[in-house]
Amino acid sequence: MTSDLLVIGGGIVGQIAALELAGTGARVTLVDAAHNAGSTTNAGSLHVQMQSRFIRLYPEHAPNLERALPYYKQAAECWDTLEAGLGPMHLVRKGGLMLAESSGQMAFLEEKSRREEAKGLDVALLDRAELDRIAPWIGPWIVGAELCRDEGSLNPLLVNRLLAKACADLGVICISDRIDGLTVTADRVSARGLQGRYRASEAVVAAAWGSGALVRALGVDIPTAPEPLHMNITEACEQKIDHLVQHAERSLTLKQFGTGQIVIGGGWSAHDHGVDTVPGVRAGSLLGNVALAARLAPAIGTLRIIRTWAGMNTTADGTSIVGRLPGAERVIMAVPGDAGYTLAPLVAQMAASIVLGRDPPADPAPCSPARFAA
């Protein structure tokens, strides 16, 4: 089938990009592989401060992440606008806490917050007394925390529903198919799916960890590695946890949805079972992740975990990949760096601006895929 514009990937980035493009009256087709789309399983943290987990796991990419910090702050603000336009998403931006258990960890946070402040983030260091005022449920051995006021969370299930409806209202055609090849000619892009062929004048690739494989044949090698991550959710309790909570040294995120449920994650690994099957849960991840939450927040100990799942994070080099593909300019990349859900609206709007020839909301130059061209 032929349309004006094609979006490959129906996760959070692809849907917002399709919405932006269709808003100009263009005929937009969005193709998604359906069963295992990454961000439809996202847990809805809005990350702005540097995650200690990323620094620990990918130290070589930490400088890239640090340079990209203003994008995270701006992206978090994009979510405010998106909610105002589309409807309630249980968006809460009361800030994020990164907890420290020792003076060493506090020193790490102090240094980190200084660098983040230099990038324009709204951060502060809290001692235990200050922590008690805003998060009294935190375990007694936490000595202090860094507060990043830009952070927050939202409910991705609500976001998905609102976006699906908004796309449908604007006439975006959504198709379930797996694209396994792209060809670019002088006047159009052609995507080969398992069930059909999709042609358009330009294509936005928003396929997260699948993006690299899609464009490799076009001569650019983008290292989008899938990173299946474990998540847990409890049954509901009273609204008590206002912040997105992390740890200065260990893998943890903890937050409370508007449903009252507490979501526990933070980058514990899951089994990657391939593209067509959902990732599997590792015993060690469930045990380690939940036990860590129990130690840091004893108040939640009597709540029950009712579900676990795994979603796919995408890592490349710590910076988003946004822009025209060198040598195949009709293909526009839209792959956020780490914590892609947070970055999604900004990345999608930047990519859409490039397609539409508008002023982008932020400078896409540092995100250009040209850095991967041989």
Binding site: H35, A168, A294, A299, T302
Partner: protein, 555 residues
């Protein structure tokens, strides 16, 4: 039996020691246990720890299942709010007791199949550990009285089986909630005050089945419960679910429980069977009596017993709706000619077949195929009842409906075979059990032809019918969610929240999987259902913490 008292929302409730909180509260006339996020009242529905609708707060601990929690003198029980308070002064639990078990054979489930497997494996010389969710072994068919008394031959037969299993030298642990099953196999469970970490050489899964409900408007009202729940109240705790009772659906359990409750003193206002009378299908009836003369005779005796007590048994009636009115419930039925009739009662019991509890098998990767005759998955097994996963055996109703006599024969076969696989005995001497099994299966096939457990198509129900009990998602919302992104149960779950609550989709999941199959025309397979996920049942954060501490010590 000792008399105890506890409080419910501050008011004193008298109970017998050993009674479940659910039974004690129902006996005291209380049937509303929790309030949903949408402000609706809920009470006992499944009675066997599946539905999570009888949750109460016990001594400050939220979300305890009243049906699985024993009443203890002095307990403070409260209505469960949808949003229980967090206690900021809570402390991390002391390093808990934990047990690491490494038996030759782990049997999961203490019912007919599990106990038979326990005895067979132990007699072959294997070291056996049997884990059971209920407070006393026996399972659903051989349901034992909490006070040890014997009601009838069925309970006596069960008591003998329990005694044989206990004296076999196997370790039988009750009140165990298994929440984790991983490759290895590694089984993680919570028992009273101790985390259990089990690394067995072989596993026999015998987790049974739970009642398939009739999803109609009003099926979530307090006082509406599964027939199995009513039977548990009566057989285990000598508690009647109400004074005036309607029993409906299809299958022999409804007749049996109606008779038991009538003998126990309840007024049975109606037994409604969806299928036409067996006497209209003499050939099918005859086939039953050829393959299982004893059981066929038992069925006929139940019908006579009901008639003698003047209990109206009506065929060709399907439940259409339940409504609440002051002082009780009114159940409306549709006749085959399209007419309706309404009956008032204070309890409505429903059973329309069974859903196998196959979560652990699916988690461990056992291959399943869909059986359209009964409308659920069946687990593929070898001659020795080993699943597609080496060392994992499966017996009884968890593999697909088969009945208790078949479960016993299967338990003996799997018990001997699992023992042999772990180096005890030669696994021979199964010929008579295999013959018995073939006979039981022929009887079951004939039996279910006399009944009609075909589920009501969801799109024929009023749109405001609740489909997902936990998340309070209606049929209309489900159909709308399907229209947005059709074709896959996981997508439907994320679009509508069906199956995201604490019962983990055990009622809405199979119904929604069937809906999608009808709409797409695609055959149901294992992947049509929700992806299996830990925890198998909801587990407290503190219990996971205990297991983690213990496992770290173990490694």
């Amino acid at each position: 039996m000792t008399e105890i008292t506890f409080t419910f929302n501050g008011a004193g409730v008298a109970a017998s020691g050993g009674q479940s909180l659910a039974a004690a509260l129902i006996a005291a006339g209380r049937r509303e246990f929790r309030v949903t996020a949408g402000g609706k009242r809920r009470g006992v529905f499944c009675g066997i720890g599946v539905c999570q609708d009888c949750l109460v707060t016990v001594d400050g601990t939220p979300n305890r299942r009243a049906c699985m929690t024993g009443a203890v003198d002095g307990m403070a029980v409260e209505t469960q709010s949808a949003f229980p308070a967090l206690r900021s002064d809570a402390e991390v639990p002391d390093t808990p007791r934990a047990r690491v078990l490494t038996p030759d054979v782990l049997v999961i489930g203490g019912g007919a199949g599990g106990l038979s497997a326990t005895i067979a494996a132990r007699r072959a010389g294997a070291e056996v550990v049997t884990l059971d969710e209920r407070t006393v072994p026996g399972g659903q068919y051989y349901k034992q009285s909490a006070d040890g008394g014997l009601l009838d031959a069925q309970q006596a037969e069960g008591a003998t089986l329990v005694e044989d299993a206990r004296s076999s030298g196997a370790e039988i642990i009750n009140s165990v909630e298994i929440w984790g099953a991983f490759d290895g196999p590694l089984i993680l469970a919570e028992s009273e005050n101790a985390a259990l970490i089990v690394r067995p050489r072989t596993v026999i899964v015998a987790t049974g089945a739970y009642d398939r409900p009739i999803i109609v408007p009003g099926w979530t009202l307090p006082g509406v419960m599964t027939t199995g729940a009513a039977q548990t109240l009566w057989r285990s705790y000598r508690t009647l679910p109400g004074r005036r009772i309607v029993v409906c659906g299809s299958g022999p359990l409804n007749l049996q429980v109606a008779l038991e409750l009538a003998v126990g003193g309840a007024e049975i206002a109606l037994v409604a069977e969806a299928a036409p009378s067996a006497f209209r299908h003499p050939l099918r009836g005859a086939r039953c009596s050829i393959h299982g003369p004893t059981l066929a005779w038992k069925g006929l005796a139940m019908l006579c017993g009901l008639r003698w007590r003047r209990v109206p048994v009506r065929n060709g009636l399907r439940l259409a709706a339940v409504e609440q009115y002051e002082g009780g419930l009114s159940a409306t039925f549709r006749r085959t000619d399209g007419g309706t009739c309404t009956v008032r009662a204070d309890a409505v019991c429903m059973n329309a077949g069974f859903e196998p509890q196959n979560e652990i098998l699916r988690l461990l990767g056992a291959r399943m195929t869909y059986d359209p005759a009964v409308g659920h998955l069946r687990c593929e097994r070898s001659q020795t009842l080993e699943t597609s996963v080496s060392g994992i055996f499966a017996v009884g109703d968890c593999v697909g409906l088969g009945g208790a006599p078949a479960a016993c024969a299967e338990g003996r076969i799997a018990g001997l075979s699992a023992a042999a696989l772990s180096g005890h005995g030669d696994g021979r001497g199964l010929a008579s059990d295999r013959r018995a099994l073939r006979r039981h299966r022929r009887f079951q096939n004939a039996l279910w032809q006399l009944h009609d457990v075909s589920p009501t198509p969801l799109d024929s129900l009023p749109e405001d019918t609740v489909l997902c009990r936990c998340e309070e998602v209606t049929v209309g919302e489900t159909l709308a969610g399907y229209a947005v992104n059709p074709g896959h149960l996981g997508t439907l779950k994320r679009a509508t929240r069906i199956g995201m609550g604490p019962c983990q989709g055990r009622y809405c999941g199979p119904a929604a999987a069937r809906l999608i199959a009808e709409k797409t025309g695609e055959a149901l397979t294992d992947r049509s259902f929700f992806a299996p996920r830990v925890p198998v049942k909801p587990v407290t954060i503190n219990a996971v913490f205990s297991a983690e501490e213990a496992l770290r010590g173990d490694e």
